[in-house]
Amino acid sequence: MPKMETTEKLFWSLLGREYTDEELEYVFPRAKAELDGHDRENGVIKIELNDTNRPDLWSPMGVARLLRNYENPQPLHYDFFSSKNYTADSEGRTFIIGNRAKEVREFSLGFAADGKTVDEDILLTLIQSQEKLCFNFGRKRKTIAMGIYRNDLIKYPVHYDGVDPDATHFVPLHMEEDLTLRQMCEKHPKGIEYGYIVKDKPVFPYLSDDNGDALSFPPVINSARIGAVEVGDNNLFVEMSGPILRDLILCASIMACDMADLGFTIRPIRVIFPEETEFGKEITIPYYFQDSQSCTLEQIRTVLGEDMTIEDAQEALARMGVYSVTDKDRVFITVPEYRNDFLHPVDVVEDVMIGYGLENFEPVIPKDFTIGRLSPAEELSRKVKDLLVGMGFQEMMYNYLGSKAEYLDNMNVDTSKAIFIANPMTENFEVVRPSVLPSLLKSESISASAVYPHRIFEVGKIAYLDPLDNSGTTTRNSLGFMLADPANAGFNDINSMINTLMYFLRKEYTLSVPENETRFIPGRCAQINVGGKAVGVFGEVHPQVLENWGCSVPAAVCEIDLDSLL
């Protein structure tokens, strides 16, 4: 979940008044936001955002815009947008995309903004927005990387293209050395962090002005001159690059609306692509591309269970900043410029719900009669657990992930049936438990000081490779139990417990000598068969296994596949 900070000063000015914490806690849920903290001493408000599909809310401007409108619904007019039918005046600013860009990072676009002097508050807010959008919405710069530049220093048109990474060089931000793009990937902290996105491509992305002066090496680092925005600047160029055009246009729209809310005048730029895009060969940014969305009154009523009128619905939408027209019982919304989350009519319904106020819906218990039931596996597992408890065993519960050393090596078994994780975080959690027995022996290995005898068991899941299944694996409900005692923990003790268990489960069984069994003392273990099928194994744990675990007391164990007994 994205988290952000804002100063009280900026937030109150955006909201138009001061809010108490109680008021913030009350209104924030309308933006799916939570008050994460309020540092009064430094005048800093922390906000957590829960909607990962609403990047427009990941800035103080976005949240304030929604809340301002919620209190006093008024259509907003961002008049700098172009659209399919209207092209704003770009005053000669053009941005030319070269034809090698698609070999590395196909699109780039941007707009300019002036008329407001950047102070520290604004600078930090813009950097924060840039980070949130690129990290969360732009998947750690993979699909969106953004740069902000000093527009005064730029000679238009701006050029974006794929270039030779070894022949192109400039001084990157926060460094004094002139480096090639490839060197930046190796030497600059940002290059080390983000260079992987482009480093195997034949050309690298490069942004420069008409004088050939470097703006940046997207998605890695700005130049130290044009790319170094500071407090006091009042003329900015905002650019974003990535492989998905719609995401870039939306991101530009969000930034443009945010900056307009901060008092900037947005200056459109005409972007010229080498080929046709879904919005044409030339797009003037900011650009309104969203399709309309609609829903019926019937849909609203069915989903929300409330007999509201179409006017109620329109009013609720307006509080969310969503303006609509109606045609009979259908509501057509104009998707706000900074949003693109109306995939389905239900998305409109949700805005109606929030705008209407969740507190205005009465909870009603569903009236359908249904019969509750436990799964057959749960029923059997309860029966088994009760029998084990009756025989004096303590039920244990274990994690299902563990290390190869514990699950396999210590048990004297090989890796042939185990499910390994391809991307383990540590080797402590890299194998799915193929048996309950290692869990029980782990307990024994750390519990030498607990009073003996130790009688413990678990009914839980295990999983291992099974070529017959579509997944190549199988998950089983398994019973494992262990008896550890300096004197009486032998084959016969476990054998009589199995006899008791099977008697009460009404299962006829036979014992046979197990094959290839390395976990037990040879001649002191047995395979349990039901209906001619192996369902379990038990015996005295091999001293080598006990030694592997560091256990100093003899133990006998049993494992039974409960799914075969169902």
Partner: protein
């Protein structure tokens, strides 16, 4: 004062037997009450600890007791005496012959002969045979024999020996009695106790309660058969005596809590579902309308299975339906995510990362109306700490019905909040989940924990239900019961729920 019911019969009888001012010694108690010395010492130690007796004086007593060797010598004579007697009868004998005739070890013969010849009684002739030079035994040999015979009557206390005997004794005794010396020396502490004031009071209590120490400790089948119990007095038990620890067979308290939650849900009309730990991207994400590029589907969020990397196939028609929905909305009324669905990625196998997977599976086989739930193990790529486990339980479920809606969802959440969480107040706020719209979070005020988020819920998006063959609305919910489980068990670290520590699990209690 000691509870007289807690006194052992050995203590009772001793206390009743002695009077203030009397000397109480082990010997006296052995003689007068027939205690064994061990019983006597036990009673002294217990009563001293209870301040009923106090030590008046203590001295070390040395005594001498015959060893087996000593006993034999006392009866048959010392080796020197025996050699002398034998040589009186025979002219001259070689030492090996003497040993054989007397049935003694050569070494014993050697040292005894040495002492005789030193005293001038014996000598060797030319044939290297021993003969008597004198027909009279030295005084010392006779006295030694006498001293040994005296020991046959019982241990000799040092204080009863004459000066001569003491000197002789030093030659025939060894501390801790080496087997070959005739006497062994023992030292014991002779302690004299007297009754304390506390002891007097306790004795009075015993008399008053009519406790004699002869009470019966155990009722036996023989007593029942013979009827002797009728005239018997039974030893009463003290109620403040420490009890011994019992280790019972027990359910795991966390398991008990989960069992309780499952029972609660079945009582509310929910049917349980379950499934395999290994899932694939299709069910874990695609079927839930999470775009394949969604950030929660990153390599840093789910565990991939190393082998087999992919499952063989995804069942139709679900695969085609879901793929179309992602690409352009299919027949769901949605515009979709507008990207090209990856048919290989969708088969990639992972460890189930959310319980909602099983809700998706359930949609393909659900009855309408229907209510389903599962308490299922899930896996997340997280650093394991007090609030994150490598694997953990999620409690999830769905409600399908022709007319279910948002107000029913709120009703359901309210029911969970009061029935399962014991909430005092309930608050709903809009939430966000990729697979539900609208989405609701429920926050509750718990009597102990205060306000916290109990769970997430929503109405499944048509992009989730329609491709899986469901046209009716489906309410989906998930409850975070682990926080309540921790509170219930008095724990504050999630890792403790799956503790392998036997002692810790044995002693853990639910509230």
């Amino acid at each position: 004062m000691a509870d007289v019911k807690n006194l052992h019969p050995l203590e009772v009888k001793l206390l009743r037997h002695v009077n203030p001012g009397e000397d109480i010694t082990a010997q006296r108690i052995v003689d007068e009450l027939g205690y064994k010395i061990g019983q006597c010492n036990q009673a002294f130690s217990w009563l001293s600890a209870k301040s009923c007796l106090e030590e008046k004086s203590r001295k070390t007593v040395v005594s001498y007791e015959l060893t087996d060797t000593g006993r034999e010598q006392a009866e048959k004579g010392t080796p020197a005496v025996r050699i002398f007697n034998l040589l009186c009868e025979e002219e001259a004998l070689g030492l090996p012959e003497i040993a054989e005739r007397l049935g003694l070890e050569k070494s014993d013969i050697g040292s005894a002969y040495g002492s005789l010849s030193k005293a001038g009684i014996t000598a060797m002739n030319a044939e290297n045979k021993a003969y008597l030079k004198s027909r009279e035994l030295p005084e010392q040999a006779l006295q030694t024999h006498e001293l040994l015979k005296k020991g046959l009557m019982g241990p000799l206390e040092e204080s009863t020996l004459t000066q001569t005997e003491k000197a002789l004794m030093a030659g025939v005794s060894k501390k801790r009695g080496a087997a070959n010396s005739p006497y062994k020396v023992t030292e014991r502490e002779d302690v004299v106790y007297t009754l304390t004031e506390e002891g007097e009071k306790t004795k009075e209590e015993l008399l008053k309660a009519n406790i004699t120490g002869e009470e019966i400790g155990v009722l036996t089948p023989a007593m029942l058969a013979s009827g002797t119990w009728k005239n018997a007095q039974f030893r009463p038990y003290g109620l403040d005596a420490p009890v011994s620890r019992l280790i019972p067979g027990r359910h795991n308290p966390y398991g008990d809590y989960i069992r309780w939650v499952k029972d609660k849900l079945t009582s509310l009309g929910f049917e349980e579902f379950d499934g395999p730990l290994v899932e694939n991207e299709f069910w874990n994400g695609d079927a839930l309308f999470m775009p394949q590029f969604h950030s929660a589907r990153d390599i840093h969020d789910v565990y991939y299975v190393k082998n087999p990397v992919h499952c063989r196939e995804i069942e139709e028609p679900w695969l085609s339906n879901v793929a179309a929905t992602h690409e352009n909305g299919g027949n769901t009324g949605s515009r979709g995510w507008n990207y090209s669905f990856d048919h290989e990625f969708t088969r990639r196998q992972i460890l189930r990362s959310q319980g909602t997977v099983l809700s998706a599976h359930q949609l393909t086989k659900a009855k309408v109306p229907g209510k389903y739930f599962g308490v299922v193990r899930c896996f997340r790529y997280d650093q394991v700490d007090a609030t994150h486990g490598a694997d953990f339980y999620q409690t999830e479920g769905i409600v399908i019905g022709k007319d279910v809606n948002l107000k029913n969802l709120l009703g359901l959440l309210k029911m969970f909040a009061t029935e399962i969480a014991g909430a005092e107040e309930v608050k709903y706020v809009p939430g966000y989940f990729p697979f539900t719209e609208p989405s609701i979070e429920v926050h509750i005020k718990h009597p102990v924990l205060g306000w916290f988020e109990l769970g997430g819920s929503g109405i499944f998006r048509p992009e989730v239900t329609k491709p899986l063959g469901i046209d009716e609305p489906v309410l989906a919910w998930g409850l975070g019961i682990d926080r309540m489980a921790l509170m219930h068990l008095g724990l504050n670290d999630l890792r403790e729920l799956f503790s392998p520590n036997i002692e810790s699990v044995r002693t853990r209690r639910g509230n």
